[in-house]
């Protein structure tokens, strides 16, 4: 008696009623959009988000399972001892919080990019950044981005931020985020 029930349930789950079929998507709007087929697309989008303030676009770039932001130990020690690293949900929240103040958006975005590692499906890129916010505050440091391709799309898996030894007293990107935790 149980075996037919089991088989019936298996058939339902595997093929039968398509309970978990995806919802129908809206037709693309035709607006220009990046397809993230290149890892540079992800980094370009991060730059655009911090300039335009469209923080809702960030979640789409971060890996659903394992995204990790890692701040500099010294920033964490000075400001937020318990929060040096955080996950996608916190990163999204912090970015929304930062960019909801239009004065904190980036007016001048200067980045020197350096590829640290490159293989068929993953890339690591280092940005030495010097950002100037609309309120005049400068943000300087070094960020290391690890990007991984899942099928034809790249996602940001890890964002490590640290002090630039050649910088002065400017805050880092990580410190800027920690101030909004």
């Amino acid at each position: 008696m149980r075996m037919p029930l089991l088989l019936f349930a298996l058939i339902l789950f595997s093929t039968g009623c398509s309970v978990f079929d995806p919802r129908k998507a809206a037709e693309p709007s035709g607006a220009s959009t990046r397809d993230f087929a290149q890892y540079q697309d992800v980094l370009d989008q991060i730059r655009d988000i911090y300039i335009s303030g469209k923080s809702a676009d960030l979640a789409n770039l971060l890996d659903d399972n394992g995204f990790l932001f890692e701040g500099d130990t010294l920033d964490s020690l000075a400001l937020h001892p318990l929060f040096r690293t955080w996950d996608k949900a916190t990163e999204t929240q912090v970015t929304v919080k930062i960019l909801s103040d239009s004065l904190e958006r980036i007016a001048l975005f200067n980045v020197s990019a350096n590829s640290l590692f490159s293989s068929a499906d993953s890339n690591t890129v280092e940005w030495t950044y010097d950002l100037t916010r609309r309120d005049g505050v400068r943000v300087r440091g070094i960020s290391e981005f690890s990007l991984r391709r899942n099928l034809s799309r790249y996602y940001l898996v890890r964002w490590q931020d640290r002090h630039d030894p050649s910088a002065g007293q400017e805050i880092t990107w990580g410190r800027w985020k920690m101030e909004h935790l």
Binding site: P28, T33, D35, A56, L79, H163, S166, L181
Partner: protein, 654 residues
């Protein structure tokens, strides 16, 4: 509704299957922390570490000794200083504890002590603390263990705390208490249940702190074949430290785990909140529910194991604010945060069947399905009346079928064939141009050869092809001028050998390991027509080589050395090939083998090279460990990383 019915159906069936027994999962209680150890000890250690951006110096020591028949001394000290390279900042911490205990009777110990802890960031150029926090304590302590199932400890007293910056020097006084308790159930029917409590409180201005962990759980034996595990807990953390934004964090959870032989049903419920009293806009809460089944079935040579689970989770940002459909300027920051309020529903379904075949050959098949829905339900209208929403609402469907055959000998041959697909489906029109369906087919043949006397070697050959198509191909191709479908093909050979017959490296703990990887991956467009055509545009040549030598001489000496090398060369298609440059033998061979004509030009070469050396020595109660690592990376012929990492640790116990 239907999925709930199906879920219940599986719950009923799952309990009815029978198999041999396994122990249930139990959530562990908080470990009991006593206040003193009885064994005499003198332990001294020192360490040095150099990373790419810092150096770190560490010294620590601990002393525990009897000063009479009932008197015990327990002192310890840790110092750490870490200068950041190329700046004048130094992070430093220290901890010193001096305690004396009196053993009143076999169950009760009482003691007094003083302690000091400090950590901060120092600017050596200006000779000031950029930030520094220290705590000094005068303590009264007691530990009471009247029964094996009841343990209590209390540590309380007076506390002085200081907080310093360049311009501020604050010093405050107050009290603190740490309470630890552990009780296991005295009742026969609930004999594996424990209640554990850990509660720390500090009442000092600018340093108020509360941390509590309260857990209860255990296992009830229902019969010889079944049991029920229950666990629940609550934790709270309230921090009002001077350098930290004040916050309150809390977590609740409950677990239920029902086992009947090897089949299980499980439920998990948890809720967490993070509140910022000074800025409730940052507050966040999350909720997770999951439940599922692990049925197990065995009949003659066939075994079947399944897993079905359903999870539902949500994270709400700025949850103390009402959700408004038309927020004014004052409510706009909260509305923008709430735009990221996310719910996730996930169903996981996995089963695997194994059949032991002729003469022990095993034939197996597994199916895995992961179905997720990410929803962003909240939206609002801005001041101009335009709708604002999060466009990331999406479905993610992943499934995998794998067939494998294991040969039964010590020299194992395994063939694995698998198919996976992944569908990413954004619902919003601003995202749906990115919707894609990818399918991967993979075949792997691996062989392991065991010879305890000579070598252990494992080799595998992998072929993987992936076809990935945009669901709205015409729009993507017109926008990006790219082909809507892409194709990836990877061929890989991996080898690993542990040689046991090299003179001086023949002991069981010694190793001589050589491993290597050669992979070629080709990416390009897939053009659909009468036949599918692969238009190759990038080729990656990946090579890696690792070598390890490990020598162990009893407990006295362990030494290891090795190197890791990896090299990736990328070639891209160029419509207008450059005049053929002079090429080495290796590149000419590679091009001939993988049909790369002059249209493919070398785009970049990426090289990583690490050398490492480790040395560990133990002599009587002293030990020393040294690790050296030299790392170099090159990209497009320029060096982008070159540094030496050193880690030295010396320790002695008297």
């Amino acid at each position: 509704m239907l999925k709930v019915l199906l879920f219940c159906l599986f719950l009923v069936i799952g309990n009815a299957w029978s198999a041999e027994g396994t122990a249930p999962d139990i959530v562990p209680p908080v470990p009991f922390q006593g206040i003193a150890v009885d064994s005499p000890l003198l332990d001294l250690g020192a360490g040095y570490e150099q990373g790419e951006f810092y150096r770190k110096y560490m010294v620590d020591g601990a002393l525990s000794r009897a000063a009479g028949p009932r008197l015990l001394l327990l002192d310890s000290m840790n110092l750490m200083a870490s200068p950041q390279r190329n700046t004048e900042q130094v992070s430093a911490s220290s901890r010193s504890v001096f305690n004396t205990y009196y053993r009143v009777n076999s169950a009760l110990k009482a003691g007094i002590g003083v302690s000091q802890t400090m950590n901060g960031l120092y600017h050596s150029g200006k000779s000031v603390w950029l930030s520094e926090t220290d705590h000094e304590r005068l303590s009264l302590k007691a530990e009471y263990i009247p029964l094996a199932r009841l343990r209590l400890s209390l540590n309380s007293g007076l506390q002085l705390s200081g907080n310093r910056t360049e311009s501020v020097d604050l010093r405050d006084a107050g009290a603190y208490s740490d309470l630890n308790g552990w009780l296991s159930s005295p009742f026969e029917g609930l004999k594996d249940y424990t209640l554990s409590v850990s509660d720390s409180r500090t009442f000092v201005r600018n340093n108020d702190f509360v941390q509590g962990l309260y857990r209860f759980g255990g296992v009830t034996r229902l019969s010889d074949k079944s049991d029920l595990a229950l666990a629940g807990g609550y934790s709270i953390l309230k921090d009002r430290a001077y350098f930290t934004a004040p916050y309150d964090k809390s977590d609740y959870y409950a677990d239920l785990n029902l086992r009947y032989l090897a089949s299980r049903a499980f439920f998990h419920l948890s809720r967490n909140t993070m509140d910022y009293p000074e800025n409730s806009l940052n507050s966040r809460k999350g909720f997770t529910f999951s439940g599922g089944l692990n049925p197990w079935l065995s009949w003659r040579k066939l075994s079947w194991r399944g897993m079905l689970s359903y999870s539902s989770g949500s994270s709400d940002f700025a949850y103390g604010f009402p959700l408004l459909s038309s927020p004014g300027p004052a409510d706009l920051p909260a509305a923008q945060l709430q735009l990221s309020d996310e719910t996730l529903q996930e169903v996981l379904f996995h089963w695997r069947a194994d059949y032991t075949w002729f003469k022990g050959y095993t034939l197996g098949f597994s199916r895995f399905q992961d179905m997720r829905r990410y929803d962003y339900a909240y939206s609002y209208f801005d001041t101009k009346g335009n709708p604002v929403k999060n466009p990331d609402t999406r479905d993610l469907l992943y499934d995998n079928d794998t067939l494998f055959i294991h040969a039964p000998a010590r020299d194992t041959l395994t063939l694995t064939l698998s198919r996976s697909s992944r569908l990413l489906n954004f619902l919003d029109s601003s995202r749906s141009a990115q919707n894609r369906l990818g399918t991967t087919y993979q075949a792997e043949l691996s062989h392991a050869f065991y010879s305890g006397q000579y070598a252990y070697t494992r080799n595998s050959l992998l072929l993987s092809v992936n076809e990935d198509s945009a669901l709205y191909d015409s729009i993507v191709s017109s926008l990006t001028k790219k082909h809507p479908s892409q194709f990836f093909r990877r061929r890989e050979f991996y080898t690993f050998t542990d040689v046991n017959c090299v003179p001086f490296f023949r002991a069981r703990e010694d190793s001589v390991i050589v491993s290597g990887l050669f992979g070629i991956q080709e990416d390009g467009a897939l053009v659909y027509g009468r036949t599918k055509t692969f238009v190759k545009n990038t080729v990656y040549d990946e090579r890696a080589f690792n070598f390890r030598l490990i020598k162990v001489l009893g407990t006295l000496l362990s030494a290891g050395a090795g190197m890791d090398y990896s090299n990736t060369v990328a070639y891209t298609f160029n419509e207008f090939p450059l005049p053929s440059p002079s090429r080495g033998v290796s590149e000419r061979l590679f091009r001939a083998l993988f049909s790369l004509d002059d249209n493919f030009i070398q785009d970049y070469e990426s090289v990583n090279r690490d050398f490492f050396l480790s040395l560990g020595m133990n002599y009587k109660k002293s030990s020393m460990r040294l690790e050296l690592k030299d790392m170099q990376s090159f990209y497009r012929n320029s060096m982008i990383k070159d540094y030496l990492m050193i880690n030295l640790n010396v320790r002695t116990t008297l």
